[in-house]
């Protein structure tokens, strides 16, 4: 559109407000709930805005998960999540970088096969992998271990990384490398000064998206672990009923906020790149 009238401009801004509220409320809500004391959780007179925000916010729930009774449930799970998701992301992105480089720069038969397989595999109902892996892991001793979760996570992150990175690499002006070599740069200089800076944003964005995908997993974690490798999403579900006498609502919400904040910050900082990564992998034309 050439010009948008001031009326349309303000109209659109007006429409944007409900969209933003709809997006933010569940997050604000889980934060509000994490600040409620046990008594406020069951008594609406202790909260304002229609049982939404606590009149007397408290950090007790955060103390509970970091130093208190829920510490042994939450901290190991957080550690498992970080180790497992970073490992799966690293392995996937390294393998996928070589693969995507070959797909975008070299001419060889089977390129389309690799891309189609990557796409097809990313739509696997993951639960279909759980039953055979559960049986196999039980037999070979990988059940409830960190490698026992990294391997299935590769099934989530690797196809996605191949697909997204190939889309990124196909947009890189690779002839710059040759130009640098013509100008007298060595192969290593050309790689370090030209290729790496060109490829790095795509690799980095792919790593973030792959990490999110692994971080979000619940199916594998809840079904292939019991305690030694359980990640945060599955551990949250098991907070429920951890104590017979009080519902661990506040602790769950506090833990949810803790695992959400770093990821949201990543999204806020790298918003534009993530959008490009998510859509360039899916829609090309």
């Amino acid at each position: 559109m050439s010009e948008i009238s001031p009326k349309a401009k303000w109209g659109l801004a007006g429409v944007a407000v409900p969209i933003m509220i709809w997006t933010v409320i569940p997050i604000a809500w889980i934060f509000a709930t994490s600040l409620k004391s046990d008594s406020a959780l069951g008594d609406s007179t202790l909260n304002t805005l229609g049982n939404f925000w606590p009149k007397h916010p408290t950090w007790d729930n955060y103390r509970l998960i970091f130093t208190g009774g829920a510490k042994d449930l939450f901290l190991p799970a957080l550690w498992h999540s970080i180790v497992i998701c970073l490992s799966a992301t690293l392995i996937s992105v390294v393998l996928a970088t070589f693969c995507a480089y070959a797909i975008s720069r070299l001419d060889f038969p089977g390129k389309k096969l690799i891309l189609t397989t990557a796409l097809g595999v990313s739509f696997f109902p993951v639960i279909a992998m759980v039953t055979p892996l559960f049986n196999l892991w039980r037999q070979i001793g990988l059940f409830d271990t960190i490698p026992g979760l990294i391997i299935p996570y590769l099934a989530l992150t690797l196809p996605l990384s191949i697909w997204t990175l190939s889309a990124f690499f196909q947009q890189i002006p690779w002839e710059m490398e040759q130009a640098a070599q013509v100008d007298g740069a060595t192969s290593w200089q050309a790689f370090r000064k030209v290729v790496a800076p060109l490829a790095a944003p795509g690799v980095f964005t792919t790593a973030i998206i792959a990490f999110f995908t692994a971080w979000n997993d619940f199916v594998f974690s809840i079904n292939l672990t019991s305690s030694n490798a359980r990640t945060v999403p599955a551990a949250l579900a098991f907070f429920t009923g951890a104590s017979q006498f009080t519902q661990p609502t506040g602790a769950i919400c506090a833990a949810a906020v803790v695992v959400t904040v770093p990821v949201v910050i990543l999204v806020l900082v790298f918003q534009r790149r993530i959008v490009t990564g998510l859509t360039s992998g899916a829609v090309k034309g």
């Binding site: 559109m1 349309a8 401009k9 659109l12 933003m20 997006t23 569940p26 997050i27 889980i30 709930t33 959780l41 069951g42 229609g50 049982n51 939404f52 393998l95 070589f98 693969c99 480089y101 070959a102 797909i103 975008s104 720069r105 001419d107 060889f108 089977g110 690799i114 891309l115 595999v121 739509f123 639960i127 279909a128 039953t131 055979p132 559960f134 049986n135 196999l136 590769l154 099934a155 196809p159 196909q170 199916v219 999403p233 599955a234 949250l236 579900a237 769950i252 919400c253 949810a256 695992v259 949201v264 918003q271 993530i274 959008v275 998510l278 859509t279 899916a282 829609v283 090309k284 034309g285």
Partner: protein
């Protein structure tokens, strides 16, 4: 692509060397791409193949010696079981409701994001936030929001309806009200992804087409249905396919919110129950394979029926 173009330009007369080079390129290509491809196949196709094999046995994990070959009997039992069909209906009700709502909502978001001037960056950033939230966290948020004791839904609805809505309405007391909350959480979490795909499609439409239609006196609806939608059909179909296949495997939300109570067990939950809780590996595998086949059928319908071309790598 740039590489082939420059190679063809310089080495046209020397046929023999080109083919050597091409051969070297082929082997290098597979050496670089091979490991990723092999690992990908190993971690995905191998479990599926193993599941197909296991599905032919009557096999409980706790009783390995009693394992015996039963052919397709597990499939016959699963497909004639009313629990399976109940889960089937639940899953597809969720798929259809979330897909329709997300299409409308996602399209609205995308159109606003495409045109908006004022809080442009802020809006685009905020809309992306649910994508970054763990599905289980979203499930807990909506669960606590709808529960009678901890929630605010009933309070807000009570206030909005001027006291008409009961404060003690139990959303998790029945099948359809439970599914409503499950769908809301799913919609909230995945609409951003949908709207981004649709926004990418919208951005590719030549704006002069729409302006021409406007000059010719077309109404807003005519411009939307006759110009905008047909021109972004490819993006639209990809978004629908992605979301459908993703929604079929829904597991996290109903697991956290209802645990499958009130007939809200989905197909994925059925597979997990059979495998993990009842350790019926044979039956669990059969259900897993059935779910896999359902996904294949839906994908085939889209790709064949609606001509969705997913591997279109050429950029125009």
């Amino acid at each position: 692509m740039s590489v082939t173009a420059s190679a063809a330009g310089t080495t046209e007369p020397v046929r023999r060397r080109l083919s050597d080079r091409a051969r070297g390129e082929r082997s290098l290509g597979w050496r670089l791409a091979g490991p990723a491809f092999a690992v990908m196949l190993f971690v995905t196709l191998y479990p599926i193949a193993y599941a197909i094999y296991l599905s032919l046995f009557n096999y409980r994990l706790t009783d390995p010696s009693g394992r015996k070959f039963v052919g397709l009997k597990n499939y016959a039992v699963a497909l004639s079981d009313s629990l399976f069909w109940q889960a089937f209906v639940t899953t597809f009700v969720i798929v259809v409701i979330t897909l329709v709502v997300e299409l409308v909502l996602g399209m609205a978001f995308a159109m606003v994001m495409n045109r908006i001037v004022l809080p442009r960056r802020t809006l685009r950033t905020i809309v992306l936030i649910p994508y970054a939230i763990i599905t289980v966290v979203s499930a807990f948020s909506w669960l606590y929001a709808a529960r009678i004791d901890t929630g605010f839904f009933n309070h807000w609805l009570h206030w909005l309806s001027l006291g008409g809505f009961p404060l003690d309405y139990n959303w998790f007391g029945g099948r359809w009200s439970s599914l409503t909350i499950i769908c809301l959480s799913e919609i909230w979490k995945t609409t951003p992804f949908m709207s981004l795909l649709l926004l990418a499609g919208l951005a590719q439409i030549d704006s002069s087409l729409e302006e021409a239609a406007q000059v010719d006196g077309a109404t807003w609806w005519q411009r939307f249905s006759k110009v905008v939608l047909p021109n972004m059909k490819a993006a639209l179909m990809v978004a629908v396919l992605f979301r459908t296949l993703d929604a079929i495997r829904i597991y996290d939300n109903p697991y956290v919110m209802t645990g499958g109570a009130n007939k809200t067990t989905t197909l994925s939950m059925l597979v997990a129950n059979e495998t993990i809780n009842r350790v019926e590996i044979g039956m669990g595998s059969a259900l897993a394979v059935i779910l896999f086949v359902i996904v294949l059928i839906v994908a085939a319908i889209f790709v064949r029926g609606f001509k969705v071309d997913l591997t279109r790598t050429g950029r125009s």
